[in-house]
Symmetry: C2
Subunit: 233 residues, 2 copies
């Protein structure tokens, strides 16, 4: 009964917040008047209120009201009662840490598994993988575990970035980093480019958007999959 | 009595491994016939043997022999007895995790504080800060703690990268990431560009190389410091 959208990014270059996704979100959240927004990831250190306002402004365009999880005294109850949910991007470590602190990990996993429509962007998508070991974020806090919501049987690398051929920078490319992941872990990883998202309907997972995604499996050469490819591992 | 070099990178664009540092290393390790190499960070998943060979080939040019820490049955004893030490770059999480696993954190901290000459590059520099919360690396393993060797009173961000003005990528810039760090932490951070290193002689810390470094302090605008600036926080 899962009904999940996992987007690489909230915002495209030169775009407004969530604008490229709004037509899809209108359908995805068609039975929701109000959506619970999880602002814990705080991109750039923005406040919960400011972040919730940003989400609210975007969802207003499709006539959906947003409530921030931080506005509730009992976050677990708020998640239980939500008609739909959206977790915004920012820092994945901060996000997961707050979810653990507020005892939200299990309940989130349960209600999303039971069918509450969910949208994640960036860090909010990352936490739906098996663990956060393929995030691009800086580990600015130490969460009690890297284990995540495990709603899909793989890991996600959002904002996937192809190597820049003319770069003179000697830091690791994204592909090198994911290869390093596979020296320590066996899980497949989906490199999701900005503009792509995964649509999860029950156990059926499709790549959506106009771009290909790059798939990394242990001991295999990375390969590309086309939009509308069914993802099965 | 500290005698430490902390380099942003081992290799410059179009350069060979460690070549730009060799004249400095010749002086730094002038009393060493053999240096203990810590290969735990495994850049790109390279084997300990292959990584040690790479370090060995570079140090051969200045007539210094390299022994890999993994070649010793008792790593703690090997560190105690080392004439000098070098920790190479790669994945900071893997490096710190292995140091904890092999009980090397305290002994490393002690011998380096007591004067064993040390070189770190990239991840090997990162671990000399207070913690690894400003690494750029992917968190591919979960170390028992993010606390590091704490040999300098700040954190390091190696391979520091200025924002690319023409980028269409919506992932966070390095500066944004470090600003996010300061929403959760108070430590100063030194953004060390490729080609820069810190020279630590006892408690005197100098920026070396030809480039400026970018300093991030909580609640302050980031600022640049020139080569040979004394670093005091």
């Amino acid at each position: 009964m899962k009904n999940i959208l996992l987007a690489s990014t909230s915002t495209l270059f030169n775009g407004d917040y969530l604008d490229y996704l709004l037509p899809v979100l209108k359908t995805h959240f068609k039975n929701c008047k109000t959506i619970l927004f999880i602002p814990y990831a705080r991109p750039g250190g923005i406040s919960y209120d400011a972040y919730t306002k940003k989400a609210s402004d975007a969802f207003k365009i499709i006539d959906i009201e947003i409530k921030g999880l931080h506005e509730f005294k009992h976050p677990v109850e708020a998640i239980k009662n939500a008609e739909g949910m959206f977790t915004g991007g920012g820092n994945t470590f901060v996000l997961l840490n707050e979810l653990y602190k507020n005892n939200c990990v299990d309940i989130l996993k349960n209600v999303i598994s039971d069918g509450t429509p969910y949208l994640g962007t960036s860090a909010g998508s990352n936490i739906c993988g098996q663990n956060i070991k393929t995030t691009n974020d800086m580990p600015i806090v130490y969460p009690p575990s890297f284990n995540a919501l495990q709603l899909v049987p793989f890991n996600i690398n959002p904002h996937y970035l192809d190597p820049e051929v003319n770069s003179k920078h000697m830091g690791e490319t994204r592909e090198t980093r994911i290869n390093e992941f596979h020296t320590q872990n066996n899980l497949p990883v989906i490199g999701l480019r900005e503009g792509s998202w995964l649509e999860v309907k029950n156990e059926t997972i499709l790549l959506k958007g106009n771009l290909e995604a790059r798939i990394f499996e242990k001991d295999q050469k990375p390969y590309e999959i086309k939009p509308d490819t069914l993802i099965t591992f």
